[in-house]
């Protein structure tokens, strides 16, 4: 009984925190949203003149559409690559004990702490020599620098909690090694993989400086375009792009709580 009561209290606290978090996140977007649907918003009008000009513009302008697609492409590729590298690396860090594990963990998280500008300047010189500068490949590579730490940190905590006895349990119940992997292992760690991937996607999605330095003029991602419009003073279009820009983050915010179901389940029970 006491246990159930505590659980309820936890649930209520969690809900309150979530509501506060959502409010905190959304309030700043209200003016931006209004901007994006306005023709102009002059003093002393409290409500601007309604117009779909900005949105029509955003969805018809070739350069905006294409930058949206290159942003989606780059972030997806970066996420896929970081997942491919991150899965085995995180498994090693999360599940096994070995010499130098602490050192490696620290090295892995380093790019998340060191100022990226310094890294980018140094790498740019190398990239120019390799012909990777001013190309989408270079941008993908440089995005991996800030993305990898998030990917590996997120995934290794999933593996730390994951109990390999699940696989043995499935085997004795009649599942062969292959079935066990795709019916037990993958689904058990999938929520963690999804959360880690969403984080990585957003970290890549929001890169401005790195894309600017390495991509040069050739690769126009959404944040680059956003800055351009904000500089030009067209707040309506800037607002519309801004809304599109924050969309993935909002999806993460709403989508992830159900994946944070707690680690008890992947541990296999309390002991």
């Amino acid at each position: 009984m006491a246990c159930i009561k505590k659980k309820n209290q936890n649930n209520i606290t969690r809900k309150i925190i979530l509501v506060l978090l959502y409010t905190w996140t959304f309030v700043p977007f209200i003016p931006i949203l209004i901007w994006s649907f306005s023709l102009r918003w002059n003093y002393p009008n409290l409500i601007p003149e309604f117009s779909l000009r900005a949105w029509k513009y955003v969805f018809t302008q070739k350069n905006i559409i294409s930058s949206l697609f290159s942003s989606i492409l780059i972030s997806s590729v970066v996420t896929a690559i970081s997942l491919a590298i991150g899965l085995p690396a995180a498994k090693a860090l999360g599940m096994y004990k070995f010499k130098g594990k602490k050192l490696i963990s620290t090295l892995v998280t380093l790019p998340a702490i060191v100022p990226l500008l310094a890294v980018a300047m140094g790498i740019q010189v190398v990239f120019i020599k390799l012909g990777l500068s001013d190309s989408i490949y270079g941008v993908v590579l440089i995005h991996l620098v800030p993305v990898m730490p998030y990917m590996i940190m997120n995934l290794s905590s999933v593996y730390e909690a994951y109990n390999p006895e699940f696989e043995q349990q499935a085997r004795v119940l009649g599942a062969n090694a292959f079935t066990t992997f795709y019916k037990i292992t993958i689904p058990a760690i999938l929520p963690g993989i999804i959360v880690a991937s969403m984080f990585s996607f957003i970290v890549s999605w929001s890169q401005y400086l790195l894309t600017l330095i390495i991509g040069g003029a050739s690769t126009k991602t959404l944040p680059l375009l956003l800055f351009a419009f904000l500089n030009s003073g067209d707040y309506a279009i800037g607002g519309a792009i801004c809304i599109i820009f924050v969309l993935p983050a909002l999806i993460l915010l709403f989508g992830s709580p159900k994946y944070f179901a707690g680690t008890k389940s992947v541990r296999g029970g309390e002991v």
Binding site: C3, N163, E165, F166, Q168, Q169, A170, R171, V172, L173, G174, A175, N176, T179, I184, P187, A188, L190, A261, G262, K264, S265, V266, R267, G268, G269, E270, V271
Partner: protein
């Protein structure tokens, strides 16, 4: 029903200085429930994993009804195992968890449903099939795990300390449930535990292990009445060992000479094993007189720590007459309940 035989089973983990299980020989009769008892780290889990096929023995063989199963992978061996943690698959509900093994065997959906519901009833969780497996109490989780292991009607059922994570009252309830279901399904079962009382209450026979070796195998009573060594007697709660010499069937000690019909003829140095309850109050010629140092009240009985010829012993008497600290108790040893084990000055 399946007879299980372990023959010279040995496991030497790579990198380990010594084998974790050495020359383990054991026969479990069809439908029997055997408890593997021993301190943590003695190799109990390792033996279970070799029986289930999760681990390949370094040497030795595992036979089901006189046929070797060593080549059969775990998923085909028809052995099911319940672990210490319930290990309910988090992405499946209760019914899907229980039905997992049946789905692996490609059984029909409606048949699976019937079997799952029968199992749920057996573990007293009727109507739980659609519950989320992540929202159960510890005891419920372990009962689901039990149901999931049994629904496939395994040839051999293995339980690896399934109760050790539960609290005391739940543990007793679960122990009785396991016993009842095992009788009902008549499945050859091994249950691992490090708790001597649990083993005694649960099992037809106990296999006691120390340091990767089988020490003694038999019905629970023999571990109290006929332990093979001092260490075994100690594991089963005996604290009184009196050094002596055995000639024929007579053991001579400073507490007197006792001719014990239950012993085999031998000439050796021994410890006379005196269980605390193998005494009675007596004023006869052969009685011993000891001073009470302290006492522990245990309900119907009282445990006295006594001083006899300068050494401490423990005896248990009925609480009808109470002795105080400093009182003299006059008692005698019950000859038919005494036992002798080889003297070993290492211990």
């Amino acid at each position: 029903m399946t007879k299980l035989q372990l023959i010279n089973l040995t496991k030497h983990y790579s990198g380990a200085p010594e084998p974790s299980v050495k020359d383990f020989n054991l026969t479990v009769e069809p439908g029997e429930l055997v408890a593997f008892l021993g301190p943590s780290g003695c190799g109990k889990t390792t033996v279970l994993k070799m029986i289930s096929g999760l681990l390949l023995p370094t040497e030795g063989d595992v036979l089901f009804n006189d046929e070797s199963v060593i080549e059969i992978p775990p998923e085909k061996r028809e052995v099911s195992m319940v672990f210490q943690k319930p290990l309910l698959f988090p992405h499946m509900n209760v019914g899907e968890n229980i039905g997992f093994g049946l789905r692996m065997r490609k059984q029909k959906k409606d048949e699976i449903k019937v079997k799952v519901n029968n199992m749920l009833e057996l573990v007293r969780l009727k109507g739980y099939a659609d519950r989320k497996s992540t929202e159960l109490s510890g005891g419920q989780e372990q009962r689901i795990s039990l149901a999931r292991g049994l629904v496939i009607e395994p040839r051999i059922f293995l339980l690896d300390e399934p109760l050790s994570a539960l609290d005391a009252s739940l543990r007793i309830e679960m122990r009785e449930l396991i016993r009842k279901i095992q009788r009902h399904m008549k499945v050859t079962t091994i249950c691992v535990t490090h708790d001597q009382e649990e083993a005694v209450m649960l099992a037809d026979k106990i296999a006691l292990m120390f340091d990767g070796k089988l020490q003694q195998y038999g019905v629970p009573e023999v571990f109290y009445e006929r332990p093979k060594t001092k260490r075994i007697a100690e594991f089963f709660g005996c604290t009184n060992f009196v050094k002596g010499t055995q000639k024929g069937r007579t053991v001579a000690t400073k507490l007197g000479a006792y001719t014990l019909d239950q012993l085999d003829d031998d000439n050796r140095e021994v410890y006379l094993v005196v269980r605390p309850e193998a005494v009675e109050v007596s004023d006869g010629a052969d009685s011993l007189k000891a001073k009470v140092k302290s006492r522990i009240f245990m309900g119907t009985h009282v445990r006295y720590i006594i001083d006899l010829f300068g050494k401490e012993y423990q005896i248990t008497l009925e609480s009808a007459t109470l002795y105080k600290e400093g009182d003299i108790i006059s008692f005698r040893l019950l000859k038919e309940r005494l036992w002798a084990v080889p003297y070993d000055d290492n211990i």
